[in-house]
Amino acid sequence: MLQMVLRRIGMMILIMLVVALLLFLINEGDPRLIARSVLGPYAQAEQLDAWIAKNGYDRSLFIRYFEWIGRVLTGDLGQSIIYKRPVSEIFWSRLGNTGILAGVTFVIMVIVALVLGVLAGMREGSLLDRTISVFSIATTSVPEYASAVILAGLFVFHLQWLPGTSSMTSGFDPVQLILPVLVLTLYGFGYIARMTRASMAEVMTTHYIRTAILKGLPYKRIIMKHALRNALIAPFTVIMLQINWLLSGVVVTEFAFGYKGFGALLLEAALRRDIFVIEACGIAAVFVAVLTQTVGDLGYTYLNPRIRFK
């Protein structure tokens, strides 16, 4: 087991280095392009050359790559071209904001999805099952921008219960989180719920559940002890993938509510070629993706003893 964990972590580092190299090649492969985006479109060729020489961009790619890796590891993410400030000053607060939004959404979404999925799958074909299935398909089919508009229309303009923006200008305000979380949960929970339902329904038809019933166990114990753990193996992977989406896929929602998050930062940077911000965001996104995959695989092995012990 320990060996497997170590192997997975080794693998993770390797993947990070490879992806970082790609990111680096795309963004800093051509020094003239960097100089151009730093100095602006009107800079002369001599100015570009001087800038390249001054900042050491005339050295080999290889050396620059490892230098850059070293800087990233020590927390120096470079200078933002747009904000004219160190990237780390903007980056961490934005990442933190998204972390809060993603974390709250994740917890609510997973709980709702698992409970509904299990309830639906427990008695396949029942009224409850059909209700939950239709509801989850419906909410998943509505894109975030549409549900954001609909919910804002209802709660902000019609009922006037909630604020319409979540920019947190006067400090952190939990009320401002409600709408973004609701939009994300509605959109995201359907996948997990449907996966859980299918998995649960399948488990309920297995012979070992029959064994448990014919052992004379109470229904609750059959569900909690016998069905649940086996039913969670399949949706677990999907749940892990959702973390990824919650970090970098929520741009639309962040924009819709003016939330100062990570997705919004990445989009702005990409649109305005803010190279060092793009790099920092890219590294962060890849890191989270690789980390969730690794945790997912390890958790999967824990849930499924057939993989754990060969």
Partner: protein, 700 residues
Amino acid sequence: MADQNDAPVLEISDLRLSYYTRMGEVPAVMDFSLTIAKGESVGLVGESGCGKSTVANGIMRYMGNNGGIVGGTIKFKGRDMAEMSEEEVRQLRGKDIAMIYQEPMASLNPSMTIGNQLMEVPIEHESISEQEAHDRVFEMLEAVHIPDPKRLMDSFPHQISGGQQQRVVIAMALLSKPALLLLDEPTTALDVTVEAGIVELIAELSREAGTSLLYISHNLGLMLEVCDRISVMYSGEVVEEGHIDSIFEWPKHPYTHGLFGCIPLPHADKNARPLVAIPGQLPLPHERPTGCYFGPRCGFFEAGRCDGNSIPITEVDTDDDPAHRVRCLRWNEIDHEAALPEADTRPPIEIGETVLEVADMKKYYEVSDNSLAAMISGATAKEVKANESISFRAAEGETVAIVGESGCGKSTFAKVLMGLEQATEGEVRLSGTDIGGIAVRERTPEQLASLQMVFQNPNDTLNPSLSVGAQIGRVIKRFGIESDPGKIQQRVFELLDTVKLPREFARRKPRQLSGGQKQRIGIARAFAGNPKTVIADEPISALDVSVAAAVTELLMDIQRENRTTLLFISHDLSAVRYLADRVVVMYLGQIMERGQTDEVFSPPYHPYTEALLSAVPIADPQVQKRRIVLEGNLPSPLDPPKGCPFSTRCPRRIGAICDDEVPPLQIAADRHVIACHISMDELREVEPVISLSKPETTAA
């Protein structure tokens, strides 16, 4: 508490069970009555689809979402189960009525330790403490002869062998000392030697506790060994019931008779007494005929009489068995003895020249060992000797059976022959060419065509999205037999004729066929290229008794016509005895004994052959058997015994020589070879395992 002690444990009367489908209500079981007294063992026999498992589910009141009990009563210890509440039924399940299932692996929760799965039974039913439950489970695991119960309790189901899994399921069923035990094909998925041990174990434990047993199986031989009474079911009805002896000695119903005609018996062979399959198929529940359900398949059908009103079950007035009853109008008119098709014997096939010769063939696998310890020591590869020095010959028209328990290397051997694996050493000569080292992709179309295979599970071996005709036609084209589409079509039709299927089946998809029909297609496919040699890997073990008989006979007929060499891989010794000319007995990758079938099946035996023979249930009350139950499990092929592979389980082990030295090949007769340390003279003195109590006049 309110039990009347004299009431039978189970009393079922006029039970009707139905399933609700899109076609409406489908009766699965009709007018089923059965009484089981305390300590009695009753069998329920029939082919798949006859409703026997449904009866067990009905008793458990576990009919699923689409099934229901439509009529009749089930009384457990005198109490009508229909009047019990859900909660009361739940209390009965697992405590008073327990069940043992067909597939032990699927019946155990893969993500719970075995200890926890067992302990929850007494904890739930008797509200005892965890420690007490732990001790109870420990004792029970010892009672079912599991070595090292402590380690087993912390294991997960996939970590133990199939036989041990079934012992766990038995332990689970017996933990609360039930009054009634339902056994649904409890040994079907197990090896014969394991089966023998399990059967004995169940008998022993239930005798001690006075448990009543309801055995459900299609295996008549097993029934004879374990039951006091049996009921034979056909299409949802009991067609004959009575004491085991009277049913086996004087079966009255044509269907029961038909079933017996389908099983190969150890004193009959393919030429003297060919199997007689029951014609036709079991009717689907919504297509049952009026009158007698067996009518369309019955040789004694009388129009206007058998197809009238439904047939009542009537008593057979024999003095020996007042309980013998039969559902047939003509039971006392039919003379089954006279009806035997006597003239139906066949001349033996003449054996031709040697077609296949295997000389000292070895197949080793390398298994990589990824543990840290192995990485440090550098020994990351281990060798598994799947086949060790295999030698034998097979001639044209000959049937050679390869027998042994699962894991004995018989499938590896088949893979090497087919070219899916390459031999590590030695030669495999097919008509003079060594093909042991030629992979299947490198073989010429002629080589491919001349060596084909019939697989075990017909459901998995046909492509579900291609029509049957297209699948056979493709083989004909690939092997270069024909290239013109019209001629291919013609050849497909001929092959369908050969396997006795209607020509219009060429257009059907595999899902429109029954299991037996699919296996016929598998045979047609294998014979498409006029092969010299066909390997049949357990071709009938997934089929029902009557279907298996028909498929066996078909295979024999085609072989007879084409003078094909047939390698019959099987663990079913009755079938092997019936159809093989020569037998090769394998254990842990090595040949223990080989020779003519008669020689192998009578002394001198290898001790392993002796144990295998003893383990086979035989559906003939005249046959007497010596019981030999093997202890322990098959050793791991990663770490086989140094000397004789069988030494760890051998009941005739003579001493350290067995553990340390590879046994010599002793020649008992021409081409009858036994690998054993025991001297030939001693082996010759061993009593036969199987003997007939009443000698029969038919010459072997």
